[in-house]
């Protein structure tokens, strides 16, 4: 397939050149560049969607069919096998999988939401107040963006051990509400989109600083907040190493760690393989929902910012 791909489009290329100029709507752009762009986008769309399609197809197969049938197409019994797989997934081991999903949702939405508000407050303060050491503090945050979260997992484990919080909900929740990148983004956004004049006006009208932040600034910053929330949500959802180090009670696991636990046993307990596949597919659904429902705000925000 990778061999055919660059060859085939060259033919379609030619017969489009003859047809395309008749359309002539909107700004003119060369047909060549447009179809090249389409081609590249098409290739990348396939590149990104095929693994997900494979996951969908694989989660509708029994273990026998998984090993024997074509990898990228359904089997005649896919519908009932798929339903049976999902049923088994949700009941296996006393229904531990829905528990993991719920944990992930709580970690990602609550910690993500709280983290977004903290980032917004922090970024706003750094952008709008002048105080001693402000730049130094901001530079430390910037440094924090560069430190990968995985490098911090082990020091965090030792610290949490000292206060006896390992293997608890808080061990994953507390580190998740910190986001240096969110602070950075909020500061940049606040300094460009919250005019000093508006804050002054609010002060003159007698609004306190906290009220100004929550009623005025936060609305102006909302597009950035959606972005920060999405980033946080995805980062927490995919966070795997921190829970791996911190947790050993299965009922506290997020879904990533739970699936990893199953997957690490596949060579000795092969029946877990279908559960891992179906589980992986089910676990991306909340991410899809979050993105599709929030991207509207996100896009309109970016657009509004661009017009100013």
């Amino acid at each position: 397939m990778s061999v055919d791909a660059p060859l085939r489009p060259a033919e379609t290329f030619d017969d489009k050149t003859t047809r395309a100029p008749k359309r002539g709507r909107g700004p003119r752009e060369s047909v060549m560049s447009r179809s090249a762009a389409m081609l590249i986008m098409g290739v990348f769309t396939l590149y990104f969607l095929i693994p997900i399609f494979w996951l969908l197809v694989s989660s509708t197969k029994t273990l026998d069919n998984f090993n024997t049938s074509a990898a990228l197409w359904f089997t005649p019994s896919s519908l009932q096998d798929g339903i049976a797989n999902v049923g088994r997934l949700f009941t296996y081991d006393g229904g531990i999988f829905p528990r993991w999903m719920l944990n992930s949702i709580v970690y990602a939405t609550v910690a993500g939401g709280l983290g977004t508000i903290l980032s917004a407050m922090c970024g706003y303060a750094l952008a709008k107040y002048r105080f001693w050491g402000r730049e130094a503090l901001f530079n430390i945050f910037l440094g924090g963006v560069l430190v990968p979260a995985t490098a911090l997992a082990l020091p965090l484990f030792l610290i949490f051990s000292k206060v006896q919080l390992t293997d608890t909900f808080w061990a994953v929740f507390l580190p998740s509400i910190v986001s240096p990148f969110g602070v950075y983004l909020c500061r940049i956004y606040a300094s460009s989109s919250v005019p000093d004049e508006i804050i002054e006006a609010a002060r003159i009208d007698g609004s306190g600083e906290v009220r100004t932040f929550f009623t005025v600034a936060i609305r102006l910053m909302s597009p950035a907040l959606v972005t920060v929330f999405l980033f946080q949500f995805v980062a927490i959802w995919n966070n795997f190493f921190l829970p791996l180090v911190m947790l050993r009670t299965q009922s506290l696991f997020p879904v990533t760690l739970g699936l990893y636990t199953w997957n690490s046993n596949v060579s000795q307990y092969p029946e877990l393989r279908t559960l891992v596949l179906v589980g992986a597919f089910v676990s991306i659904i909340p991410l899809l929902i979050a993105f599709l429902s929030l991207q509207r705000f996100w896009r309109s925000g970016l657009g509004a910012g661009g017009l100013k």
Binding site: N67, T68, A153, L154
Partner: protein, 443 residues
């Protein structure tokens, strides 16, 4: 993709561990060996033990214990398997002082925990010395390290090795089961002529290779009073390496990475005819190659000398009591029940498909009757025979590192640069360096 992400994460963690270990050196990690069996006093009142394992359904087995022992309640955590992060977690928890009371550790990793002084000596706990009679000497030696008056773990499951082969294909080709490695190599040529491969040599299965070396009578490690001797390039080890190198060079074996879909497929479609593997492999074949049901059989491993009866082990776990547990007496009592009582062994076999290390387990009904997938052969009886012939083998304190270095070398040999012996000699050098880096005495 997830795996590589994890590996890089793990590398970071290792770097951090080394850095941290540097700060806290001397806090008791070095001065092992001196502690002979400490007193093992029972606690008073109700006790709760934490138990970390990766055996699926272990909670169901433990529930049987909890029902009958209201004063010793066991809380199970089921986590990812040892090399997928749990061993590192154990080491971190030992450092932080919050390790569970009981944990699962495979035989090849026990020495790593022993040299870090992470295991409690339970030799004087009641019932432990009586349990010795339940296990073969070789296995018991794995959990005592040959130290006097010491027991650091109770064997749980074991992985005696034998030869799985496609009986139907052998019959059709007019071949009999190879009983020596020479016959095995001769059959490889005949099978190749028929378009098949006698087996698959995977670069990642260094622990399988270690089993083959131990069957030939070789040792990779030995220890004398805390000083380690590394010998990956002994005569026996080199003999085994040259044997398989010959098969690889002549392209008589498949070389796919093991436990993958393509590897399953090679067995499922009859391209690969045999597998020298452990007892747990029975399940791997039956689920990975469902189309071959009824066509397999099990024989003892081929021998280096006609008429010998040597076997080896691949995998298997023990249960340990971690240093720092406040209740070693209760923990040992539970472990003796878990790994030697008929009730627990039956449940472990039924719920988790474990092949018990204890001799009490050998006559469970499930392990003495015929298995349909293997043409109704009572294969577990054959594995029980193999288990009696397992050659003793000493594992080193840095097996994860040794496995990965040797595996890299095997990978090169399979792709045609270098040989398996080269891989062993570079593994030898790197293992000695790794031991020195951990300030472990090496000869």
């Amino acid at each position: 993709m997830k795996k590589s992400k994890f590996l890089s994460a793990a590398a970071v963690a290792v770097a951090a561990t080394i850095a941290l270990a540097g700060c806290s050196a001397g806090s008791g990690a070095g001065d092992s060996g001196s502690d002979t069996a400490a007193s093992c006093k029972a606690s008073t009142g109700k006790v709760t033990l934490n138990f970390t394992s990766w055996v699926p359904n272990m909670d169901k087995v433990v529930a049987l214990w909890n029902k009958e022992n209201p004063d010793i309640q066991v809380k199970v955590s089921i986590v990812a398997n040892g090399n997928s992060g749990t061993y590192k977690n154990f080491f971190n928890q030992l450092k932080a002082g919050n390790a569970p009371d009981i944990g699962q550790v495979e035989y090849d990793t026990l020495p790593a925990f022993r040299v870090q002084d992470g295991l409690a000596n339970i030799a004087s706990c009641s019932g432990v010395s009586d349990a010795k009679a339940d296990f073969s000497d070789g296995l018991w030696n794995q959990v005592t390290f040959g130290e006097a008056n010491s027991v650091y773990a109770i064997p749980q499951d074991s992985g005696p090795m034998a030869l799985y082969y496609r009986k139907d294909l052998f019959d059709k080709a007019g071949l009999s089961v190879p009983t020596t490695w020479a016959e095995y190599a001769a059959d490889a040529v005949k099978i190749k002529a028929l378009g098949g491969n006698i087996t698959n040599f995977a670069k990642g299965d260094v622990n399988q290779f270690a089993g083959l070396v131990s069957q030939a009578g070789g040792q990779w490690f030995s220890t004398d009073d805390g000083t380690w001797d590394v010998n990956l390039t002994s005569a026996e080890s080199t003999k085994v390496a040259d044997y398989w190198q010959d098969l690889i060079s002549k392209k008589l074996v498949n070389t796919l990475p093991s436990f993958t879909d393509e590897w399953n497929n090679a067995y499922n479609t009859g391209q690969d005819w045999t597998w020298v593997s452990a007892v747990w492999g029975a399940n791997t074949i039956s689920s990975g190659a469902p189309k071959t049901s009824g066509k397999w059989a099990v024989a003892q491993m081929p021998q280096w000398t006609e008429g010998d009866k040597a076997s080896a082990a691949w995998g298997g776990s023990s249960s340990v009591v971690f240093k720092g547990s406040k209740h070693p007496a209760e923990a040992s009592k539970f472990l003796v029940w878990l790994n030697t009582s008929k009730e627990a062994l039956t449940a472990l076999n039924k719920e988790a498909n474990l092949y018990p290390a204890s001799s009490t387990g050998a006559d469970l009904p499930a392990l003495t009757s015929g298995v349909e997938f293997y043409g109704n052969q009572a294969i577990y009886k054959d594995f029980a025979t193999a288990a009696e012939n397992i050659q003793p083998f000493t594992w080193g304190p840095t097996m994860t590192q040794t496995y990965s270095d040797v595996s890299d070398g095997f990978g090169s040999a399979i792709s045609g640069s270098g040989t398996l012996s080269d891989a062993l000699s570079s593994g030898q050098t790197k293992t000695i360096a790794a031991l020195k880096a951990q300030s472990i005495a090496v000869k």
